[in-house]
């Protein structure tokens, strides 16, 4: 799974996000964690990309069990400062999850806001 996955317009939105934020990987799933689109950065191996998707899938299910459907953002940071950010948002009555993995110190809030807007636009077509 080292190739991008999903409809072209969604892949384009995720690729733009990766390039602007220099993120390691960007994944778009539904609320159940089912993969809708993904865009890895060059050099990011398929195994880790699959691991991110599986992780988001499990986390999405646990979030529902922990009554966390209303969360706006979940961030996990390791001791090196690398972060995994998950941002749920609604499109056309459906909850989607945008997850990005990034190196320490990278800004992400505005970039993911832009990406969410791009995904909403792409969804409309």
């Amino acid at each position: 799974m080292d190739e991008p996955f999903g409809p072209e317009n969604l892949i384009a939105a995720l690729r733009t996000l990766n390039a602007r934020g220099e993120f390691l990987i960007t994944v778009l799933t539904d609320a159940e964690g089912l993969l809708m689109a993904s865009a890895p950065s060059p050099g990011w191996d398929a195994e880790k990309q699959a691991a991110v998707v599986a992780l988001v899938q499990r986390a999405a299910r646990q979030a529902q069990a922990a009554s966390m459907d209303a969360a706006d953002e979940v961030a996990i940071r390791d001791v090196t400062g690398r972060r995994l950010i998950c941002r749920p948002f609604e499109v056309d009555g459906q909850i989607l999850l945008l997850s990005v993995l990034m190196e320490a110190g990278r800004p992400y809030r505005r970039l993911t806001n832009d990406a969410i807007r791009d995904v909403r636009r792409a969804w409309a077509f």
Partner: protein, 238 residues
């Protein structure tokens, strides 16, 4: 009919956890293989309410027997407790017991005074240990930017909190983030989990993992998670 077995097959912590999770009322007799000491734990509706050994009673007995790894046990269901000397939840007892074993805390000297009905002995440990958990909560809450604190065991049981809202829900959130973080570490071979955050509306919870539990810090609206996290050293084992 009593259930009997070896502590090598089923440890004391597992015995307590299993019977308490089942909500049992029972007498658990323990015999230490190495020293020949005996102890009896009494469970009522899934909580350890009394423990006695060699004329002593209270929480300290539980902490002592948790270190027994050889010997035998028997569980007699339905036996009522002759006294109630323990008030801490079984999860709290197990966590404190494990913490003492991890830290190699020496067993306290046998008390000189008789046990009080609550199991808090004159100059004894339990009150101090309860105090230290509350103290930890107070120290965390004193950090600038922290509005509330919840400490939850890995199974989601809230051990202590200083929240006005729903501590069980906040505890579940803390455990969710901690668990997800562990999965991130395993799946992506990242470094150790440092901290995580969950933002819900204007509320942000900072979650930090400790050896036996998760700490959730409800942050004030303008507080920076990174800044608060940097102040945790000294209050928590980071």
């Amino acid at each position: 009919m009593a259930l009997q077995g070896s502590l090598q097959d089923m440890g004391v912590a597992d015995l307590i956890q299993h019977n308490c999770q089942e909500g049992r009322t029972a007498r658990v007799d323990l015999r230490n293989g190495s020293g020949g000491q005996t102890a009896a734990l009494f469970l009522e509706q899934g909580q350890v309410v009394h423990a006695e050994s060699q004329g002593e009673s209270g929480e300290e007995i539980v902490y002592r027997v948790l270190s027994w790894t050889e010997g035998s046990f028997s569980v007699e269901p339905g036996v009522p407790a002759p006294d109630h000397t323990i008030q801490r939840s079984y999860a709290g007892l197990l966590l404190e017991g494990m913490r003492r074993i991890d830290e190699g805390t020496p067993e306290p000297e046998p008390p000189q005074a008789a046990s009080s009905p609550t199991g808090v002995k004159a100059g004894g440990g339990p009150a101090k240990e309860e105090g230290s958990m509350s103290e930890r909560i107070q120290n965390l809450k004193a950090i600038e930017g922290v509005a509330g604190v919840v400490i939850a065991a890995r199974d989601g049981v809230v051990l202590e909190h200083s929240l006005d809202g729903d501590p069980d829900k906040e505890g579940a959130v803390a455990v969710f983030v901690g668990y997800a973080a562990a999965q991130v570490g395993q799946s992506l071979a990242l470094g150790d989990f440092e901290w995580g955050t969950v933002a819900i509306g204007k509320e942000t919870m900072l979650v930090v993992e400790q050896p036996d539990f998760y700490v959730g810090l409800l942050l004030e609206e303008k507080a920076s998670p990174a800044l608060v996290a940097s102040k945790l050293e000294g209050v928590l084992r980071i």
